[in-house]
Amino acid sequence: MSIGHTLLGLLESGPRHGYDLKRAFDEQFGHDRPLHYGQVYSTMSRLLKNGLVVVDGIEAGDGPERKRYAITDAGITDVQQWLATPEKPEPYLQSTLYTKVVLALLTRRDAADVLDTQRSEHLRSMRVLTERKRRGDLADQLICDHALFHLEADLRWLELTAARLDKLREAVTR
């Protein structure tokens, strides 16, 4: 999962301080793995260097968590591109896919679109495997079937999520 894109996406609704970003991230995405402050600062300084965020104000006191960050136009474009680019179909994509869907909802983008794009990418891999299966021997068939079932599992999860987008939108934007 891309922490950079996720933090950027969280900034789209308005500027936030470092500590506020961490809190929002943990609340929305960090169920089993809350962010370390160190990750927040290293990520934010990289985003800053790349012109995707700017420092919008600094609170009195010390410590980098007091910096307030705002997303730039380049940052918004970067989030848009990330959401529009399907993930390479690989095992254990759930956390990235979940993050993309939630972020699309939070930023009022078309989450169904994220799902369609990903389905298309998965199907592309599945067509290649299906073709190999058709030409191959039994061993090829079994190996391809294993991969096909895993890709199918991702897709079934996506379809189910798509069917529940309205509920999910309510839950995450509450």
Binding site: D116, R119, S120, L123, R127, L129, L148, L155, E159
Partner: protein
């Protein structure tokens, strides 16, 4: 309207309402000879309605459908049913075989309806039953064969007239995955060998993986997922 170059069957701006329900709301579609296109999308999104319009079974409220240079939407009912019999083949989720007829009589039926002699029709039927690996069932009635076997018989029947377009709505929906994939393999092989176009409605990704590309229908609107290469 000008159909996309090389397309055999195409539709633009299809709208179809059932009372207050807008089943199709500006859907588009296009398919080439020999192409297998999967139609996917959530339940109730309009997939079957799109297939029925393309096949001339349902008349859209507005929009145009072009088949081989002719406007399907402008034909008379009689012309359309003649076209369905001569150029189109159909497979649905449940085989819909005639229970009183034997399997070979079922497969031969579309040819008989077109006026082919019994002997000739059954000879052609057997050839297709061999390809679908169900020729040993020729004397059995649909009630005496398994679901998977019956579905293969139905696929043989849909291909016996050598249709230019095969319409399949969840053709593997009632089958387990092994049978479903075998049916897809045989169906797409057969269609490719006769250069028929296949419009394949399915919600199963492993079935859609037998297609060349997919079209997603959502709220009555279609989206071609083919990526510009």
């Amino acid at each position: 309207m000008t159909p996309p170059a090389g397309s055999l069957l195409s539709a633009e701006q299809l709208r179809k309402a059932y009372g207050p329900t807008l089943a199709l709301d500006g859907a588009e579609f296009s398919i080439h000879p020999g192409e297998v296109v999967a139609v996917m999308g959530p339940s109730g999104s309009g997939k079957s309605t799109l297939l029925h319009c393309l096949a001339g079974i349902v008349t859209p409220d507005s929009g145009t459908i072009m088949y081989g240079g002719r406007e399907l939407s402008a034909m008379s009912d009689a012309e359309r049913s003649a076209l369905r019999r001569s150029d189109f083949g159909f497979v649905f989720q449940f085989g819909q075989l005639v229970p009183e007829l034997t399997c070979v009589e079922n497969v031969a039926l579309p040819l008989r309806l077109n006026g082919t002699s019994r002997k000739e029709a059954e000879r052609a039927a057997l050839t297709w039953m061999e390809r679908l690996e169900v020729d040993d069932l020729r004397k059995k009635r649909p009630g005496e064969v398994s679901g998977g076997q019956g579905q293969r018989v139905a696929v043989a029947r849909s291909l016996v007239t050598k249709p230019r377009v095969l319409f399949a709505d969840e053709p593997t929906g009632a089958l387990d995955s092994l049978n479903g994939e075998r049916v897809m393999e045989l169906l797409t092989d057969a269609a490719r060998s006769t250069d028929a176009a296949v419009v394949l409605v399915t919600h199963e990704a492993r079935v859609a993986a037998y297609s060349d590309r997919e079209v997603v229908v959502r709220d009555g609107r279609s989206r071609n997922m083919e990526r510009a290469v």
